[in-house]
Symmetry: D2
Subunit: 158 residues, 4 copies
């Protein structure tokens, strides 16, 4: 399986009054990571990545809904100038949904790398016309299986 | 058990390009709800609620760390002028941690109420001096038990 | 002239690492204030205010573009539980644009009120079909003139 | 004079419900640009830029307050994968304040570059101990004058 490494640059405004990246903001960083690697942003996206699995944006045939998310915070994230290393893969490919998995690491090349967080997002594919979940096509399932790996093992709940 | 009802007013900027409250922003709303009811913001907080369980802010003896969060999104949230009804309680009181539970409902008084999301946050109490987890004192445990109820039953993972 | 008083509730996440409402976030609060009083959010807005001057949202005939903004910060804003008092009026009604003016005050009823900031936003009305600026209709000009007052007098640049 | 080019990577969440970078969010991008080039973030900033003029963060001798900002939006900014080109320089070096100027351009190398916005921020230097404005030292004035250029010429108000 292929785990994608997505460099995400923090902003000073990601910090909250405690001086660390805010807990909710962390989910925005994950959102950005999955959009960067898995989404083509239709009409104005000549720079869509080769790893794009979905075409988003207004007018797309398929919408994605986020059904759920889980995250564990292992260490606080300070303001860092070098991009953090968000590692992304799929933990499960279901009938009409996929589970995107993440590990958030200190910047690539850091001597003693720190694992800041692990998380997962369950995405449901929805037909834009009918507004109902739609099954993954075979070619989608095939393309996506490249990124299939072990689901995140969370400490809690089991 | 007592479930607290926290009215949280949306902002138009909570919406993302899909026109619904963004998935990460939803966790900010939960953050605001738990701060409103459970936190006293030290020196400048004459308006601290009677339900305050923790004194936050710079200089506080106890810090809280968020160890993890889980959320399920059941229906998209549009821009609404009347505050949504975030219901908050505790699902578990541990040795040095508590699990805060939430249900996010349409504004109080809505004829057919909609459950938008359910979620939980695991908070760890940390001694500000030693930076290590500290056990809940008996009086804290007693005060908090008023809000103890059933943990959120998530559909996924089990 | 009528100056509208819009109570805006802060969120703890409006603070940045300095522990005060962030400079950019302040413009979000102004955005929310003008939307609350001057916008009707089309199809799902039975709660549109009587003071609504514009119908926004997808499918509206008129779009508004923000041409410019100016703001002066007079005092840092801490986290406050009671809503701040954002006062809103129009400083100028032009051919195809209006200038919205703001003063941001401490919560209504504060014994010694503090003026935190003053600001202005220039809005241009754009025809959604042609994507070009369109002139205000007479009935708009009449309705809006109720809120016309002195433009903000900024200290700088003049 | 030297105009600094700061590549700032957009996030999909910078867009609002209109599908363009939000007006307030634009000021966050400017904030990030000036922090990247002009700030050293004390203890954990081995990556501070050579152009750093100020040491920020908790415990710094000098704080900076933002006294005011002005911005003109010339074209809406879509989601772009390549970083936008935020150009930064100083428009004025005063006794205890500086005016930071910005032009926000389409990504470097774009065939027909688009100027999205121009803006300025007035920063006041404040002595952290006395909480009062403090004059720029001669060596600061000298170091900063490298970046001194023409102030932004705004269309409005003049």
């Amino acid at each position: 399986m292929t785990r994608l490494h997505v460099p995400i640059t923090l902003r000073w405004s990601d910090l909250d009054a405690y001086g660390h990246v805010n807990n909710a903001e962390m989910l925005r960083l994950l959102e950005e990571a999955r959009i960067r690697v898995f989404w083509a942003v239709e009409h104005d996206d000549p720079d869509a990545p080769a790893t794009a699995l979905l075409a988003g944006g207004v007018g797309a045939d398929t919408m994605t809904l986020i059904a759920g998310q889980q995250i564990e915070y292992l260490a606080p994230v300070p303001y860092l100038r070098r991009p953090i290393d968000v590692q992304v893969w799929l933990g499960r490919i279901g009938g009409a949904s996929v589970e995107i998995c993440y590990e958030v690491w200190s910047p690539a090349g850091t001597p003693d790398p720190v694992l800041y967080a692990r998380a997962s997002t369950t995405l449901v594919l929805v037909d834009a016309a009918t507004q109902r979940p739609r099954r993954l096509a075979d070619r989608e399932r095939e393309a996506w299986s490249v990124y299939l790996g072990e689901p995140v093992a969370f400490r809690s709940r089991g």
